[in-house]
């Protein structure tokens, strides 16, 4: 079995962070989102992986993943170019997939239970496809699968007005090469995209069996800043913490804290886990780092109170205020305006930034 990880898309809902890099490289608990997908596939025994690239951030993604050897996999790159829909993305992988079954994994999604159960469920029957489902409270906002008593999918509906099921598609598929014939028969939808749900419905209309598997645990699409913060909370909650760096004896560190071996927590700093602090970062005296915060590499925190936030890295943050629920992009600087005249906040903000002052 092979794997396909989707690393395209424009990341518009994550701007301005995605003005300078692809959304799949935004870190969650100090690990780029796409790395979770690669590791989930590897842990399911899938090491031959095609990474689909769009128009933006190709070099960044290739630079990060390389040939895959650092992650224990072998990567083939597939350039899709314009985002023409999930079915187009899958279709671009036909030469890579050849005659194998394959798992399709959205590169900006995180699942805490991986894909092994879904793959095993697919293998139990004579299926041409398998889809991962999760129970949601607002099924009208998702693609919904209706199933029979044996978990076989009977119908797929995109954002139904009157949902007959509360099981939403969560963006992981196991597919056989039969899907390529189905893709060839469908046409772009009203939004100009080749929809994977149309291809799956085509398989169902031909009487072919499509498996469904309700995944356990949580699943998070990290398309928006609040999703990144939520995913960060969920991942940090599952971490045991590991204090590998330098902690001054006068620092107050409690809870689960991941501290990189080259990171430092100075005396009179307070850190309350779960927290992740990356390489070469310094938490100076008088600083408070509260629960559900991830601080990226080469960052200096000074006299700031920081909680439930993601600092991507290479930043200096020395404001004397409290920063909460925030996503701070790479190499951003937040310092104090205290003592400056005239009094007031001083901002240099990129396009589509979002501040609550």
């Amino acid at each position: 079995m092979k794997g396909i990880v989707l690393a395209g898309g424009l990341g518009t809902r994550l701007r301005p962070i995605t003005h300078t890099g692809p959304k799949q490289l935004v870190p969650v608990a100090n690990k780029p989102v796409i790395q979770y997908a690669i590791e989930d596939l590897r842990d399911a025994g899938i090491t031959d992986i095609g990474v689909i690239l769009g128009n933006l951030g190709r070099d960044d993604i290739q630079s990060f993943l390389g040939d895959g050897s650092e992650f224990g996999v072998e990567i083939t790159y597939i350039v899709q170019g314009n985002p023409l829909g999930l079915a187009h993305t899958v279709g671009c992988a036909e030469e890579f997939v050849e005659e194998d079954d394959f798992v399709v994994y959205l590169g900006d999604n995180i699942h805490n239970n991986g894909v092994t159960d879904l793959v095993e469920s697919f293998k139990t029957g004579d299926y041409v496809a398998g889809i991962a489902l999760q129970e949601v409270e607002n099924p009208g906002q998702f693609g919904i699968a209706e199933t029979d008593g044996s978990d076989n999918v009977t119908r797929l509906v995109e954002k139904p007005d009157n949902p007959a099921s509360d099981h939403a598609l969560v963006g992981i598929y196991v597919l056989s090469p039969a899907v390529f014939d189905a893709i060839e028969t469908i046409e772009p939808s009203w939004r100009g995209e080749l929809e994977i749900t149309d291809a799956m419905q085509e398989l169902l209309d031909k009487g072919l069996a499509v498996d469904s598997h309700v995944i356990e645990g949580w699943w998070k699409d990290t398309g928006k800043p609040e999703d990144i913060l939520k995913a960060n909370r969920l991942v940090l909650d599952g971490r045991p913490g590991s204090l590998n760096g330098t902690v001054d004896e006068n620092a107050d560190v409690r809870g689960h804290v991941d501290l990189h071996e080259t990171a430092t927590i100075e005396g009179r700093a307070v850190v309350r886990g779960p927290v992740s602090i990356a390489a070469d970062t310094v938490v100076e005296a008088g600083t408070y780092v509260g629960p559900y915060t991830s601080v990226g590499p080469e960052t200096r925190l000074s006299s700031v109170q920081l909680e439930n936030s993601v600092i991507v890295g290479e930043s200096e943050i020395s404001s004397d205020g409290k920063i909460v629920d925030s996503l701070v992009g790479r190499a951003a600087t937040v310092t104090s305006a205290s003592g400056l005249l005239p009094e007031g906040r001083r901002l240099v903000i990129g396009e589509q930034s979002n501040l609550k002052l």
Partner: protein, 60 residues
């Protein structure tokens, strides 16, 4: 809709025909690959199909 791609003979990187049509000629995007890929490397019938499907492929 038929999805047409070209595989780099040097490194195996795959490029969608719509991307090649847009650029006509491009350095292979594979890691450390120096091969040059051309829209004309795609079979004539497939090229014709891509051009006929211009709107669906995001170009006219």
């Amino acid at each position: 809709m038929k999805i047409i791609t070209l595989t780099c003979p040097e490194c195996g990187t795959i490029v969608a025909a719509n991307e090649l049509e847009e650029r006509r000629i491009m350095k292979c995007p594979g890691l450390e690959c120096e091969a040059v890929l051309r829209f004309d490397d795609i079979e004539a019938t497939d090229r014709e199909y891509v051009l006929e499907q211009g709107t669906n492929y995001g170009f006219d």
